[in-house]
Symmetry: C2
DNA sequence: AAAATTTGTTGACAAATATCAACAGACCAC
DNA sequence: GTGGTCTGTTGATATTTGTCAACAAATTTT
């Protein structure tokens, strides 16, 4: 359990940064989160399953994706320190329209939807921190919407460089391409043009 | 004030639908919201100003927009019953990167950021309802991200028809086009092709 | 109601990106 | 390490959408 506390340190710090949480709430969180090591290439959540857990990504890299026709589209890329869910599915406990998989070996802290609801019941003040976190994610998402409306492929790729530079080497290019909504060949050409300048 | 209560009925109902609110909280909300009639074509929030208010759109139609280069991009379209803010600006009280304007005569209920914070302080349980509302908006936004990654213009326009059909006649086509990230001419052609079928 | 302005339509053309295909390089399994 | 599979690169071509321009239609202003 001491191990739990160490791995969850950055989550606790995130929460305390918003507003200090009580020792009781901290203990409840540390007790409810289960640590999991997951190897690269595993699917955490399958499309059509209900997202029954929230994960805190202690270390690693993930992506969510869904299919349109015969194409697979990467919708989000999530790295160390992120809270991971399939939003629509987790919030409403209905089947997911996307899958989530690991792009690297990951250490994850898993919290079930039911345990989270119990925590909310016992510690209603926790809604404050989670409201603010949801607001932050909301705003980040807004920026991704801006990105997708940028005119050309290089503007989109620059957005990616500004926001995900640290993970560039670890994310297969075809996933970056579909995240930016361009063909992998176009991304390859955009990159080589950029390298020449 | 009785008038206030009527106009805010659907907001109160929205909150009660999540979890019944106390009479005290209801009164505080009704007292803090100020009703405003705003004519079509007025700018509620100017880019670079801080979004100091949240609005509940009792009746009418709004859009948010920002400029990229010499182009104006419509980022959101909001109709009766929506809560309206510029997310990044309101949450963090920093200058907005977008403007918000009325597309029709509107009846708005305005709540200042500071009044909202006072309400949160006095009624911390209110965080519960607002967390859930933020989650709902978060999920809606995710769907708009899906839409922008749809391949062609007609798929994007169909998304619009599915989600904004009731407001189709009231929104100038050029705004719909930039919302869908296509040129107005392309939208015009897409529509005429669709009509022939 | 007429004039002026804005918005939407249509055509011709240009530009960007997608698609298809061949190949090279990286990565994985055995 | 070798063979096989998957990923990325590059070229040729097709398709889609954007751009520019002229005009029509609708809306606003006077």
């Amino acid at each position: 359990m001491q191990n739990n506390r160490n791995l969850l340190a950055s989550l606790i710090q995130l929460l305390n940064g918003i507003q200090p949480i009580s020792k009781e709430l901290e203990s409840a969180l540390v007790n409810c989160f289960k640590i999991e090591d997951v190897k690269k290439g595993k699917v955490l959540l399958h499309e059509k399953d209900i997202c029954k857990n929230l994960w805190f990504l202690c270390d690693g890299l993930l992506r969510s994706y869904h299919n349109i026709g015969d194409k697979e589209i990467t919708s989000r890329i999530m790295y160390t320190g992120h809270i991971v869910i399939s939003p629509g599915s987790f919030f409403t406990q209905t089947p997911a329209t996307e899958s989530i998989e690991t792009l690297a070996d990951c250490i994850l802290a898993k919290l079930s939807f039911t345990d989270l609801q119990l925590i909310y019941t016992k510690f209603p003040e926790f809604n404050y921190q989670t409201r603010l976190i949801t607001e932050q994610y909301f705003y980040k998402q807004e920026q991704r919407l801006y990105m997708l409306r940028k005119h050309d492929a290089s503007a989109k790729y620059n957005f990616f460089l500004e926001n995900y530079a640290d993970y560039l080497k670890d994310i297969p290019q075809k996933y970056i391409a579909s995240f930016l909504n361009i063909a992998p060949e176009t991304l390859s050409r955009t990159r080589s043009k950029l390298a020449k300048k």
